[in-house]
Amino acid sequence: MNVDLIFKIAAIGIVVAVLNQVLKKSDRDEQATMVTLAGLIVVLMIIVQQISDLFALVKTLFNL
C-alpha cells in the first residue's frame, strides 16, 4: 500500500480519458465506450484487491 498505486490509477485514468476524447472526436463512440469500460475494469481489479486487504486489516484489528 504505497503512493505509487495512486499514480498508477491516475495514469490509467488520464490515458483512458484522452483515448475517450480522441475516439469520440473521430466519431467512433462504441469504441470510446469500450475503452472506458476496459479501463474501469482494470482499475476496479486493482482497487478491489486493496479494499479487501483493508477490510481484513480492520477485521483483525477490531476482532469483528
Partner: protein
C-alpha cells in the same frame, strides 16, 4: 508528526488528480478517490494499535473483563467502515445508498453492543 503532513499531501494531490479527470470520465475519478481513501485509512489503522493496547491495559487495571470491552472495539470498527463507505457513495452521487449504509452501520453497532447493555441491565436489577 510527519505522517500528518504526508497524509495531507497525498490527500491534496489525490483530490487534484480526481478533479482533473472528473470532467472527462467521472467513474475514473471515483476510483482515484477510493484509492486515496483506502491508502489514508491504512495509515490511520497503523496508529490505532498502540491506542487499543492502552485501552486494554486500562480495562485490565480497572478489573473490567475483555468481553465487555470488545463491543466497544467492534462498534468503532463498524463505524469506520460504514462511514467511509457511505461517504464514497455520496461522492459518487448516490446519497440514498449512503444513507442506508449508515443506517445499517448504526443498527449493527447497537446489535453488537447488546451483550454489554444486557449485563448493565443485570447489574441494575441486582442493585434494586
Amino acid at each position: 508528526m510527519d505522517s500528518v503532513i504526508k497524509i495531507a499531501g497525498i490527500g491534496i494531490v489525490g483530490a487534484s488528480l480526481a478533479l482533473l479527470i472528473k470532467k472527462n470520465s467521472p467513474e475514473m475519478s471515483l476510483m482515484i478517490t477510493i484509492a486515496v481513501c483506502v491508502l489514508i485509512i491504512c495509515v490511520f489503522l497503523s496508529f490505532v494499535s498502540p491506542i487499543l493496547e492502552f485501552l486494554k491495559n486500562l480495562a485490565d487495571t480497572a478489573g473490567i473483563s475483555s468481553s465487555l470491552l470488545s463491543p466497544l472495539l467492534k462498534a468503532i470498527g463498524i463505524g469506520i467502515v460504514s462511514k467511509s463507505a457511505s461517504q464514497i457513495c455520496i461522492d459518487a452521487g448516490e446519497s440514498s445508498i449512503a444513507a442506508f449504509i449508515e443506517m445499517t452501520g448504526t443498527m449493527l453497532a447497537i446489535y453488537v453492543s447488546l451483550p454489554l447493555m444486557s449485563s448493565v441491565l443485570e447489574l441494575v436489577k441486582s442493585i434494586m
